[in-house]
Chain length 328, copies 2
DNA sequence: CTGAAAGCGCTTACAG
DNA sequence: CTGAAAGCGCTTACAG
């Protein structure tokens, strides 16, 4: 059809014909049907954003919002639609995800043993996942958590204080525990031993920094919290204080600003001095004397979208930038 | 094809045949292609959410996030995809919106003179818009702003204080002004006179309440701000104080909690007592002695999605619930 | 109860 | 430079 050529390959049609076609189309309100176009071309021109568990969580979390904004930056640029695909934890999640008319997937906050992970990794469409877990068939986008954890821990004067760690859960059982480095798996990157890869990588980074500073990781106290909320940080700090009654000031390496702020409240309440590191680069942490790591989730969203478009190489891991933020 | 019947009309196929088809499909990883299905059936099974101006704004605004969560509630329930359609203010916005493979539209924060509004209203697909403006061809979803404004204004003891209004802009010129009720259009619902319909409706509600309380609207001071930010409320309050040096305590009817909080800061700074009303039901307002109106944006999102699905009647306006929140 | 046929609206080699 | 033909993967009357 000459009309089709006029829209898609203007050079192949005589100028006059093309003008006539386009004008008539405008007058008639005709425009190519995107569904038919998608069927014929095999490209839906849409990217699917798979959101673990409840979609509403995505919208309650400002970090997630930044991530999604990054995804949509790239999609606007390439004139692609963004389709939100919530998973419910049903068995038909896999079906819904694979049935979606999209050219690639961006995965957000999916648990490691989610069957959707295997399904998406195994399908023909490119897929990127924010923050891991690394998975054959998925491009893993995110900061190098281990390096960033080591850097933020090294930013504080470790020599002057007893280092302790306030850690995210190791796995989805989310058991609250207080243990020593020796009780943790040797290989923290082994997702069989530490199913939450972000937790493992950050623990490894803290270990790197503490070992370099002359501490024996085996003796370091690690408080594992259930969730990333301020009060969990408070409880963890109290337990650490109880476990280390003799220690002087503490250097608390916490995996989030929220946890660090909670720990700080508990320590201040107990009249104890402490150096603290968190994560996420929140203004409140910086204002509260807490070192932090800032990694732009918007940038990660952009990187995920590009990967899910099949742009760029076939690298399995795409590191994104991060910086250590000193308190002000 | 028997396969098609097995998936879509199981009753029309013998039990044994169907089982065999489904098992084979599962083994082969076959599932119906949604694009082909959409082409054939004429239904994309997707809803488009048209987001005015920049998509990233959507994600910076927690209210918007709630709205989107409401839309996705309904879409999950009906197994529909949610496609985000950002508009850029280009001339090809209309084209992009109309080209999207969706069965209906939900419009969010679109300005009244947006050509997308006419385009969407004029197309065959059902469309709903949050908060207005009312537009032929669009289903308008939102609380009754006029009634809610009257209710929140009436909730404060108006007799004991001089009432003043801190208003959103009347139009997209967003001129900062200080005027009297008499200078405002008589018909506040006339979108030619007051292009921002929410502003007009709330002004009308305040007028209702003040008139009922025995005040002459013509004399009431109305400060119009440029944007909905705290500092704009502060500036407005200072101007009101300057304009009403003789007045005792004020009753400030502000169109948002942010504006009310700003006004409160300015008045407290000037050592003045004030009763205040805001809008949005924020915890901070409630904790600061400010009456407010809470209207669930999640509920509005749900209502928009249902309307955009073509569910329900052909009513042009779908009021959603609201409540006046007293400070605690 | 099952299967062959038409057609949804496009795009792309291909022939004129 | 322009147009007739096949086919993307479905669904749905229709015939067997």
């Amino acid at each position: 059809m000459t009309v089709s050529y006029s829209f898609n390959h203007p050079a192949r049609v005589a100028e006059a014909t093309r003008t006539r076609v386009l004008e008539t189309a405008a007058r008639l309100g005709y425009r190519p049907d995107s569904t038919a176009r998608a069927l014929r071309s095999g490209r839906a021109r849409q990217l699917g954003v798979v959101v673990g568990e409840h979609l509403s969580y995505l919208f309650d979390d400002p970090q997630a919002a930044q991530f999604l904004a990054g995804v949509s930056d790239v999609c606007v640029e390439h004139d692609l639609g963004v389709v939100l695909i919530p998973t419910r934890g049903d068995h038909d999640d896999v079906d819904r995800v694979l049935s979606a008319p999209v050219d690639g997937y961006v995965l957000w906050t999916t648990v490691i043993d989610d069957p959707v992970l295997d399904a998406v990794a195994g399908c023909a469409r490119p897929a990127a996942i924010q923050g891991g877990p690394a998975h054959p068939g998925l491009i893993c986008v995110g900061p190098d958590d281990r390096a960033a954890a080591a850097a933020v821990a090294s930013a504080v004067p470790l020599q002057t204080a007893t280092p302790v760690v306030v850690s995210f859960p190791l796995d989805r059982r989310r058991a609250v525990r207080l243990l020593r480095g020796a009780e943790l798996p040797e290989d923290l990157a082994d997702t069989a031993a530490v199913p939450f890869p972000v937790t493992g990588a950050r623990l490894a980074g803290y270990r790197d920094a503490l070992t370099a500073a002359g501490y024996d990781w085996d003796d370091v106290c690690v408080a594992v919290v259930e969730r990333n909320q301020r009060q969990n940080g408070e409880v963890a700090a109290r337990e650490l204080l109880a476990a280390l009654p003799e220690a002087g000031s503490l250097a608390v390496l916490a995996m989030s600003d929220e946890l660090a702020l909670g720990a700080r409240a508990a320590l201040t309440g107990a009249g104890r001095e402490a150096l603290l590191t968190g994560w996420d680069g929140s203004p409140e942490a910086a204002a509260s004397g807490i070192w932090s790591v800032a990694a732009s989730l918007r940038e990660q969203g952009r990187a995920c979208a590009r990967a899910a478009l099949g742009d760029g190489g076939d690298d399995v891991v795409r590191p994104t930038s991060w910086t250590v933020i000193a308190p002000r």
